[in-house]
Symmetry: D2
Subunit: 360 residues, 4 copies
Amino acid sequence: MQKIPVGVIGATGMVGQNYIRLLDAHPWFEVTCVAASPGSANQPYRDAVAGRWLMASPIPEGVSHLIVGDANRADQARNQCRLIFSAVNMKKDAVAALEMEYANQGLAVVSNNSAHRHTPDVPMVIPEINPHHLEIIPAQRKSRGWDKGLIAVKSNCSVQSYMAPIYALIKAGFPVNRIILTTLQALSGAGYPGPAAIDLVDNIVPYIGGEEEKSEIEPLKILGRVDGNAIVNASGIDISAHCTRVPVTDGHTACVSLEFKEAKPDLDEIGTIWRRFSGLPQELALPSAPKRPIIVKTEPDRPQPRKDRDLDKSMTVTVGRLRKCNVFDVRFIGLHHNTVRGAAGGAILTAELLQAGNYL
Amino acid sequence: MQKIPVGVIGATGMVGQNYIRLLDAHPWFEVTCVAASPGSANQPYRDAVAGRWLMASPIPEGVSHLIVGDANRADQARNQCRLIFSAVNMKKDAVAALEMEYANQGLAVVSNNSAHRHTPDVPMVIPEINPHHLEIIPAQRKSRGWDKGLIAVKSNCSVQSYMAPIYALIKAGFPVNRIILTTLQALSGAGYPGPAAIDLVDNIVPYIGGEEEKSEIEPLKILGRVDGNAIVNASGIDISAHCTRVPVTDGHTACVSLEFKEAKPDLDEIGTIWRRFSGLPQELALPSAPKRPIIVKTEPDRPQPRKDRDLDKSMTVTVGRLRKCNVFDVRFIGLHHNTVRGAAGGAILTAELLQAGNYL
Amino acid sequence: MQKIPVGVIGATGMVGQNYIRLLDAHPWFEVTCVAASPGSANQPYRDAVAGRWLMASPIPEGVSHLIVGDANRADQARNQCRLIFSAVNMKKDAVAALEMEYANQGLAVVSNNSAHRHTPDVPMVIPEINPHHLEIIPAQRKSRGWDKGLIAVKSNCSVQSYMAPIYALIKAGFPVNRIILTTLQALSGAGYPGPAAIDLVDNIVPYIGGEEEKSEIEPLKILGRVDGNAIVNASGIDISAHCTRVPVTDGHTACVSLEFKEAKPDLDEIGTIWRRFSGLPQELALPSAPKRPIIVKTEPDRPQPRKDRDLDKSMTVTVGRLRKCNVFDVRFIGLHHNTVRGAAGGAILTAELLQAGNYL
Amino acid sequence: MQKIPVGVIGATGMVGQNYIRLLDAHPWFEVTCVAASPGSANQPYRDAVAGRWLMASPIPEGVSHLIVGDANRADQARNQCRLIFSAVNMKKDAVAALEMEYANQGLAVVSNNSAHRHTPDVPMVIPEINPHHLEIIPAQRKSRGWDKGLIAVKSNCSVQSYMAPIYALIKAGFPVNRIILTTLQALSGAGYPGPAAIDLVDNIVPYIGGEEEKSEIEPLKILGRVDGNAIVNASGIDISAHCTRVPVTDGHTACVSLEFKEAKPDLDEIGTIWRRFSGLPQELALPSAPKRPIIVKTEPDRPQPRKDRDLDKSMTVTVGRLRKCNVFDVRFIGLHHNTVRGAAGGAILTAELLQAGNYL
């Protein structure tokens, strides 16, 4: 099988580097195109990231020599690849327009950016939860006049620590009414350079601009349904989030209290539901899919970011401390690797879904 | 005025050292007696803590030369002091019995330990909230057969970041129905040595044994009422706590969502209530009382432990990020210095209340 | 006594804020003038630093209301103060010219900046070591055509952890031949924001641009002598420095191995020399002078930044682990608070020297 | 090929766990025997480490079910394995005797412990430096009366960051005269639990008991020569070490200044020598051997522990910042992963050498 040529725009930033790292030796995709801001363009990738390559593994050989393109020139990417992973870091309007332009050029766009998360005909996909939202793509193409172009996006990283466990319960017949949660989020979620070291030594910061709103609103679309030209948000589920920043490199932790609507599973049932939970990526055995989307820890003090973030290729959600809630019904701790599952890895898994669904 | 002679038992541990530090140059109290485990006894205090004095300031001169007594010998303390601050670290039953023995000897005991927190006739005091619980002391003395002895305790440090703000609202006529909160707690709360460094580098631990139960139950007694021989817990207020450990030296942060029972103040009213909140310690101008029990920050990213824990002699609670809650009514962040306000400093303030109330 | 009006240029940055904090309630100086970049000018100081006030204590009331001036307008400062503390953060040439302009206007300039550290007629002063370098000021004024203007600078913060202990030995008759040292430097030394948090979690960075050169060269001028119009560097002492960045907020640590030229004091003599060491600031009892310039710790694991940086108003150098060196003669660990002793506090002490020496 | 059965004593501690992790799927060795203190014995390994398994990967299936033996019973291990990796944590004399007992029983012992490092007929091996020291084994066996038993040990982890780079220079014809260095050592080097978190937040500790002596003396044996029944220490090379503890999980950094004896290579030559350096493990392509024993980084701020410790299976030494020394000849930064290369991984590589040399 010939590999599908893919590109990364915003390839020199931290998320872009994660794409390059994770796509190295990917069985289906091959990075043939990297693009960044004009200031980084027109030089080999290795030179463009010299002194700011942040990954632990070296730059993959195949990408190292690619000449970096100008991310603003969607027309130039057109002949170099079939799908674009967007990790650009620009103003929201500019990103929205740029991603449209790539799709206009006939490319599939899978984006980490928040610009199109609430565009009604753009699916925001967590592959184990709402892969069927990709079914909107024919309508998207039709109304946009695209033949082969498409846009799909991933959600904010903060929601990933609790959405799979909560969805698993809903899917099992236990609708959720209300959720109050606090996240302890990793530094890498802020991009590079992110917070100053002097602000996170002997300290935490109980605030991340815009994060609480995303954590509360995005789940509604993810749990929504496709209705013709638009994805209609779910209703009847209220979420309140406190988002805090802690001195952890990778791995967002969420402390979650939830209330069921009617039927209330007991703790054993919940554990069983989570352990058995599986989705389309597992059914299709997609290359980046974790064996189990949810891993349940029974030690009293787990999950913990450094100890659990890398389980199953950093693509799983680890939960633990499942117990009765004194106010709502149950509470638990959820954890995921925010730059893999919550960013580049999750987007690659979505791209695999697109390929498996013949959207490419 | 002649100073009141006081003792510290468990004087060599971290909480004990905090007592020694905070009582240095106290206008009312003078440390005349220090006691610890038999292994530390019978040597000058400076030798007993050699190599494990954890305070930033040096050992106060007056205490440095005191010969450490055996904490198990309440009879020996009897002639040396009038009041004992208990910071012993033993099994719960042993502490309960030991503190009783000190009271039997005619000493006032103010304790950091949890052993007597739920003894019905022992007041658990946060000085700005329930100083009137000290009114149970005559009944305590009578039923115990004590002439001058008494026992009063402080609550767990974790509750201090939210109890003053919540009580201020209740007092202002806005009863609280339900609270869901997550704490991000400092290392010093675990005593010394506490958690291993290797477990808290690039990591947080979302579990502290026994802490969630204390955070949920103790507030009920604090908000309770004196009824003859017993303090009767408040009812009608439910609290659910997630307690986590973060790599911060001092300062517990709480992310709090709360629901009012009926009347719902708006955010401006709440800010005003907090800013105006004052208690008996302020009215009596007790030496350790902060000028304001609650400081309200309006910057979007405060309070933060390293930046706010030391406001007003480390004796105040700092709140911020007051905003609507998406599920309950309002949410906010609270912070206090856990080894000062939440431990030795809070106990000293309670002792000052005892003195001001003529219980000594 | 009427206080001397002083100004701070670069008043909104971290070093500038430290000046404002340390000069609050100073017995001799009063801040009457604050200036910063044009973008911060023409508004009250409290507004100019809103959201970026980094000190633990609040903005001093007296400064809070001052209207920030444009630091480029030395002429405007002229009538507002007698001395300027320079904490500007611009290109070296621009700083050099700007500080000259302030002196041209008749102001005494005491600078934290490196621009004039190697200008031959500008004294670089560590108050306990080379206060006599201020004697070059009449020559400086004469050759520059200044009546009342002057420039004095402080050295780089990295040298302060070892220069006082080394100078004390030289002064006591034990000339030093060679020094090899490694510094573990605090984040605040890099200004704000300084290094990214994600680079200093579970990590250290064994490199600080330009720092090793400063650590090796500046001591030569500090140990030099005034010769007419110029300060002539000391010779015959070689220093090699490895400078590293560690996740510490404040406090630079130095691990020092040194070789004497001829006479070699034993360890006891060295301890005695350090304990007895005192300088002109102590003799004059200057307001910011520590009681002892060097504190000797005998615990095996001290000094440590968090535990020792704040001794004696954060103005002392703490040394410990004095022991034989396996290669040179002796080795030790030195520590100082880099933003107080090593920056604003050291400059204020120099200003006090200038006042005591009638240079103002 | 049938795998060689090996055992791990002290299997439940952190170093023991690292052995279990690194030996999983080893091509030559299979863990068939685990032993620990009597308190942990007589239960499956998974139960013995329940709640204290510190590795990121799960307990290997094959070991999980092994019944833990009593480490004091060398006789019981005799029939279960051919080689013992010793990671016991007992008093030095007890370890020395215990390891002797295992060798008496006919087992090859490869030890992390310091007990036999200075036993004259016990080789202390860094596989790329002194594999020929294993040639003492026949003499060791003869004088001890062992048929198949043997003891070989690894050196202290602290020396690994600088010994390979220094040996490479010596081997290339540039004898080294003097070395002054400072290490910034990781927490895992102290075993579990090691230092308290509260001592390493906003702090470093410039002291590790006994570490400086080991860092100075062990290299002399490593660089020594086999002379009949004993390994004779090298002479003519002096080392002085400052050893400090920093809040890093894994990865020891060394800041090294060195003086050559006579011939002085220039910086380019040194870089070339390091890049070309290779040893017997590389020649024999041993399973755990890194491709290159030394990796040279040219970025100005590398190596760094979190970014470089895991290069080449965590088995390489990374060097950087090679530059002239202002006092000696050259200086550089060296880094290695202390619990892999510097502990279990290095010992496994030594065991591979033993197998390749037909000592098993």
